[in-house]
Symmetry: C2
Subunit: 313 residues, 2 copies
C-alpha cells in the first residue's frame, strides 16, 4: 500500500482532492484541511475548508456557490434576518446541522479530528479527511485599519481591504494532527500534493504548524504543488489580489517562488508552461469531473517520475 497526502483549502483544493479520491484507492489518500479559516459564529464552530472538502468528496457540494451544500434551503437564515440576527455569514439549513452537531461534540470534549471522521463516515466519504491540527489556529489579516479576523476580511468585507500582512494566531502552540504528521514520516508515502489553494490563507497555515516544514523537507516523497494562478489570474477568491498587495509577482512562477525549496515538483496550466521552467504543464482549470481526475493523474504521474529520479528510497 502506498500513501498520498493532499494539503487543501476550500474549493480549488477540494476539487483536486476529489480527483485524487477517484484515481486512488480510498485508503491511500489522506486529505489535510486548513483550519485557519475556522471561526465561531452565532455561537457555532464553523470549519469552512473541512466542510467544503467533506461535501465535495461526499458529492454534496454546492457547485454554484462554491461553498455549502447543494439542494440547500435558507429558512433558518430568512428567520434569523426576521428576528434581527447577523446574516453576513450565510448558513444553509442542511449545512447548519453540521455546525450545531460539531459544536455540541467539541463542547462535549471530542476533538475536531474525531468529529470530522464521524461526519465523513456518516456522509459516505471514504478517504481520510483530517484537520491540519486539533488545536485552535486563527488566520488574521492586517489591513490599513489594523488586524482583523479572517472571516471578517473574507466574507463580511468580501476581501476589499488591502492586505498588508497575514498571521496564524495560535499556530506556534498547535500540534499538527497526529495522522498528518505520521503520514509525512510514513515510508509508504508516495507524494505530498499541495492543492491549487490560496498559498497565503489556505496552505501557509498548514506550513506554519511546528514541525510541518521540517517534515516536508525531510520526507522521502516528492512535494508537488499545483498552481492556483492561471495566466496571472486566480480561478476563484482573492489569491491574485493578495499577491499583488503583498508585493509578489502575480503569476504561477510567483507562487512557486513563494513555496521555494519546499517543492520537488510543480504543475502549472498550459497557459503558463513557458514562464515556469521545469514545471509540468496540464489543464489545471477543473470544470468537469474528468478534469479533476486528469489533473490528479498528472500530479501522481509527476510524483512517480520524481521518485524514480531521486532514488530516495
Amino acid at each position: 500500500m502506498s500513501l498520498v497526502v493532499a494539503l487543501s483549502g476550500g474549493v480549488g483544493g477540494a476539487k483536486l482532492a476529489l480527483g485524487l479520491s477517484r484515481v486512488l484507492p480510498a485508503e491511500e489518500l489522506l486529505v489535510v484541511c486548513n483550519t485557519g479559516d475556522d471561526f465561531e459564529h452565532l455561537g457555532l464552530s464553523v470549519s469552512p475548508d473541512i466542510d467544503t472538502v467533506m461535501y465535495t468528496l461526499a458529492g454534496l457540494a454546492n457547485a454554484e456557490l462554491g461553498w455549502g451544500r447543494a439542494d440547500e434551503s435558507w429558512a433558518f437564515m430568512e428567520t434569523l434576518a426576521a428576528i434581527g440576527g447577523e446574516t453576513w455569514f450565510r448558513l444553509g439549513d442542511r449545512d447548519l446541522a453540521v455546525h450545531v452537531e460539531r459544536t455540541r461534540r467539541l463542547l462535549a470534549g471530542e476533538d475536531l479530528s474525531a468529529v470530522t471522521a464521524e461526519f465523513c463516515t456518516r456522509l459516505g466519504v471514504l478517504p481520510r479527511v483530517v484537520p491540519m491540527t486539533d488545536h485552535r489556529v486563527r488566520t488574521r489579516v492586517r489591513t490599513e485599519d489594523g488586524w482583523i479576523a479572517f472571516q471578517d476580511y473574507f466574507v463580511r468585507q468580501q476581501c476589499r481591504p488591502v492586505v498588508r500582512q497575514i498571521a496564524f494566531s495560535g499556530a506556534d502552540e498547535a500540534r499538527p494532527q497526529p495522522e498528518f504528521l505520521a503520514a509525512l514520516r510514513d515510508e509508504k508515502l508516495r507524494a505530498v500534493v499541495i492543492c491549487p489553494s490560496n498559498p497565503f490563507i489556505s496552505v501557509e497555515p498548514i506550513l506554519a504548524l511546528p514541525g510541518v516544514r521540517t517534515a516536508l523537507e525531510a520526507c522521502a516523497a516528492p512535494v508537488i504543488a499545483v498552481s492556483p494562478i492561471i495566466a496571472g489570474r486566480a480561478i476563484k477568491g482573492p489569491t491574485a489580489k493578495m499577491m499583488a498587495e503583498l508585493g509578489l509577482d502575480v503569476s504561477a512562477a510567483g507562487v512557486a517562488a513563494r513555496y521555494g525549496d519546499l517543492l520537488d515538483g510543480y504543475v502549472v496550466d498550459h497557459a503558463d508552461a513557458a514562464s515556469v521552467p521545469g514545471a509540468v504543464a496540464a489543464t489545471t482549470l477543473m470544470k468537469t469531473i474528468e478534469d479533476r481526475e486528469n489533473l490528479a493523474r498528472v500530479v501522481l504521474g509527476l510524483a512517480y517520475r520524481l521518485r524514480g529520479c531521486q532514488l530516495r528510497e
Copy 2:
C-alpha cells in the same frame, strides 16, 4: 388604562392569550410564560412555552403540530439524523433561528426578558410577553426510575412514565420577572387569568416563584382560571394522566381544588357546569379564532363582575 395578566404554558394557554390579545388593547395585556420547560438541547437554549405563545400571537404557530412554526421545513433535522445527531427533540429550520439567536444573546449577557421582547417586536407581537423569571428554573419529574428532566419525560419518553412527584429546580432562588411582579401590584390590574394550561407543569412553576402566590392573594384584581379539563379529559397533553397518577380527581373540579383559595373565579366547559358549583360555564374548547375571542370575553366579563361584587378598589 387597565391591565390584564395572563399566566400561560404552551398550546392551550397560548390560544387564550391570543383571544385576550384580540379583545384587549395590546398595551393592556401582559402574558407571563412558564419557563420550567426550558432546556438546553444541542447546545441551544430552548424555551418551548415562550415560543409557542410568541408564534401564536404572531400568527406563525403550527396548528397541526401544536408546537413550532407553520410552514416549517426540516432540512436541518434530516441532516442532523444523517450525521448521527440526536433527533428526539425536533427543531424546524425556522424555529431553529430563534434558538440559535436566543442562545447567542443569552451568552452575550442579555436576559431572557430582553431577548423575548426583541423577538416579539421583530415578529410583530404587540402585547408584552415575558418569561416568568429571568433566572434558571427547571421542572423535574420523579418517575419510578427516579428524577428526570422535564423534556426527557415529556418529549423523549412521550409522558409514558408514571409521575410520582414534580419539582421546580431553582425556583426557590429565582426572582419573578420584574414587570410580572410590578403588574401584580399595579392598581390598574383588572384580572389575572390562569390560562387552560397544565396546572402541574405549566402554571405551578410560575406559582412556585418566591412572592408570586402572596402577590396573587394580595392583588386587588380577581384571579380567574379556565379549566384545562373538559368532561374528565385533557384537550391536549398529559394533564389528565398526571392528575390520575398524582391521586387527584381528574375533573374540572379537581383542577379548581388544586388551585384552592388562589381562585376568585373559575370558568369551565358547559360539559362540567353541573359538577363545579359557582363556576361560569363557557365553550372552552378553542377550535376557531372566534372561540378564543369568546372565551377571552367570558373571562374578562367574569373579572368585571367579580370586581363589582368585591369592591376591592
